[in-house]
């Protein structure tokens, strides 16, 4: 085969391979890897990006010790965990439920799927802005509808520190449930019909079929969807930045929002770089462990 290819005219395959891959690789190295290395280097210094003349000193692990010892950071991590866990649970349940319903083929199925998917294609920042209108305590539609069913009187989803963490969970779930739904639906459609036919012959009940055939087949797909959502929500910035901008106080200050405040408002470049590295390592670590577990489940 190899010698046959050599006979063709033009550049060798090896040369073309490198010419084709090089631009992508160079760009990724320059705009992704270089900044990351730069951030890691800065994380060991006391650099302030807004004080240009100031001497930059190497401070070793001081920034890292400071962050890991700070109670405030653990609070942010808890807020992030609350957000990630609840959005994943809700999106898994509702998404899987919708997928099961959509899998019963009925008329207009495809059109309905497309319409349901719309929210997740929108710009998160713009979604955040218009939900502040829906959540408005005086004139918001959300508040009106809730009061229509049970009269709570005036309440402020974004302004109250007990309700605000839920306000972001609701909007994220509204926006991203279609994502889990679509992926679960693909899983359901991949189950071959003969499995059910065989089960029917063996007189398995519908419930037994669901537990022993449907669920195990969908599970890898659901887990994949949750991996994507988990990573995205752990880095969540845009939606929450426009919806609550971390407030009230710091009730919804997720890790990324806190990072933005430290880096672009207080300009603590060294310190915030260390925090960024910690976040990245956390995501990467969790992601890898999760993938291992996911593959184990798939093998079974």
């Amino acid at each position: 085969m190899k010698s046959a290819v050599k006979k063709f005219k033009g550049l060798s395959d090896k040369a073309i391979a490198w010419i084709f891959i090089a631009p992508t690789l160079i760009l990724l190295l320059a705009i992704n890897i270089y900044p990351l290395i730069y951030a890691i280097r800065m994380s060991f210094t006391n650099f302030y990006a807004n004080k240009i003349g100031r001497e930059v000193k190497f401070v070793g692990l001081k920034n890292y010790k400071k962050i890991l010892g700070k109670e405030e950071i653990w609070e942010k991590m808890q807020i992030t965990a609350h957000f990630v866990c609840w959005t994943l649970v809700l999106q898994a349940l509702i998404g899987l439920g919708l997928a099961l319903l959509l899998n019963k083929k009925f008329k207009g199925n495809e059109l309905l799927t497309t319409l349901i998917v719309l929210p997740m294609m929108l710009s998160p920042a713009v979604v955040g802005v218009f939900w502040t209108y829906l959540y408005n305590p005086q004139v918001g539609l959300f508040n009106y509808v809730v009061n229509f069913f049970y009269d709570f009187g005036i309440f402020d989803m974004i302004g109250s520190s007990t309700l605000a963490p839920w306000s972001i969970v609701i909007v994220d779930t509204w926006m991203w449930t279609p994502f889990t739904m679509l992926i679960c639906l693909a899983g359901l459609r991949s189950i071959p019909n003969y499995l059910y036919e065989a089960a029917e012959v063996d007189r398995a009940s519908k419930w037994q079929q669901f537990i022993h055939i449907t669920l195990p087949s969908v599970l890898p797909f659901l887990l994949l969807a949750l991996l994507f959502r988990g990573i995205e929500n752990f880095k969540m910035f845009d939606l929450v930045a426009e919806l609550t901008s971390g407030g009230p106080g710091s009730a919804t200050e997720l890790a990324s929002i806190n990072l933005k405040r430290e880096a672009f408002e207080k300009w603590k470049t060294g310190y915030s770089s260390a925090f960024a590295v910690i976040l990245f390592v956390t995501i990467f670590g969790f992601g890898n462990v999760y993938v291992k577990v996911m593959n184990k489940i798939k093998e079974r």
């Binding site: 073309i16 391979a17 631009p23 218009f130 829906l134 426009e242 672009f264 770089s273």
Partner: protein, 314 residues
């Protein structure tokens, strides 16, 4: 789809029940979007009335406010002006204001278009080259390379924003269209390489090999045989890249300000008298969301593939 019914398929009743629940969910989930579009056609007063007005007299005030800057004037000054020439001037006058000039919305919107199209073009072009090489040739450490390309998506944007901010300041790329096009190209590359590799894997190698036997070079075979075969895949990938660039907010808000700012960081800053001008924000949102909704309908067959980076192909 298929009319042959096996005994396993849902009965009429459970199918109807499922359809009903899905329709209810669809209606509820589309209310926020519909509400924002409806608000764009309300007057400022109607938008802040309680209970919320479902039926209202349509007005284009939101759209006029979106595209213009206005200032409030005393009544005797307004009376001294010649009568308004256009309907929109008349509308603004009726609110005791005059138009002082165009707003920033149009330049921000066109920035979104320029940067979106630029970044889409480059990420799809470079992505299809890399995808082809990874799909057809023996590349050392191929799997590691592919994973590396994917892993660049795991960085929180804020984490690399600081170094990029400093780097761009040094290179003079801060707040420029070129800078943003490069940045969005790179962010989209992981998606475009993964998706396009999947699409190219599906094109039989025999096509190019036949062309090469006929005297084409590998390059010619790529441009004249493989690329045309991959048109659907390339179009789907391009739309995904476009949607991402269109919606992106974190880098835009941190790295652009006056010159190259796109629409997402701008829309929240539309402020009327006494707070946010909801009809104008509704109008901006509506105009901003329409292209994405059209794209979604066009893409519906490839959605799944796009959102999972090609991991699930159906």
């Amino acid at each position: 789809m298929d009319t042959s019914r096996s005994p396993l398929e849902a009965t009429g009743f459970s199918r109807k029940l499922a359809a009903t629940i899905i329709i209810v969910y669809m209606v509820v989930t589309l209310i926020p979007i519909t509400w924002m579009v409806a608000t764009s056609f309300k007057s400022v007063d109607s938008a802040i009335s309680y209970p919320p007005e479902v039926f209202f007299e349509p007005s284009l005030e939101g759209y006029v406010n979106l595209f213009t800057n206005r200032s409030r004037q005393p009544k005797d000054y307004l009376d001294s002006l010649p009568p308004p020439d256009t309907w929109y001037e008349e509308l603004v006058r009726s609110r005791e204001m005059v138009i002082t000039g165009p707003s920033k919305f149009l330049p921000r919107y066109s920035n979104s278009l320029i940067i979106g199209f630029g970044a889409t073009f480059f990420s799809v072009f470079l992505g299809s080259l890399a995808a082809y090489a990874l799909s057809r040739f023996k590349v050392p450490l191929k799997d590691d390379l592919l994973f590396f390309i994917l892993s660049t998506r795991m960085f929180p944007p804020i984490a690399v924003a600081v170094p990029i901010f400093i780097m761009y300041r040094k290179l003079g790329l801060g707040d420029t269209h070129v800078g943003m096009i490069i940045l969005y190209t790179v962010v989209n590359l992981s998606l475009s390489v993964w998706l396009l590799k999947g699409f190219m894997d599906e094109i039989p190698r025999e096509y190019e090999e036949a062309a090469m036997i006929d005297g084409y070079s590998r390059m010619q075979a790529f441009f004249k045989v493989v690329l045309p075969q991959a048109t659907t895949g390339i179009a789907a990938t391009a739309i995904f890249c476009m949607i991402f660039s269109w919606n992106e907010y974190a880098f835009a808000v941190l790295l652009t300000q006056f010159n190259a700012q796109t629409a997402p960081p701008f829309i929240p800053t539309i402020i009327g008298e006494g707070g946010l001008d909801w009809p104008a924000i509704g109008a901006g949102t509506t105009l901003f969301l329409i292209p994405v909704m059209i794209f979604t309908v066009v893409l519906r067959k490839h959605l799944l593939r796009g959102i999972t980076f090609g991991a699930v192909r159906k």
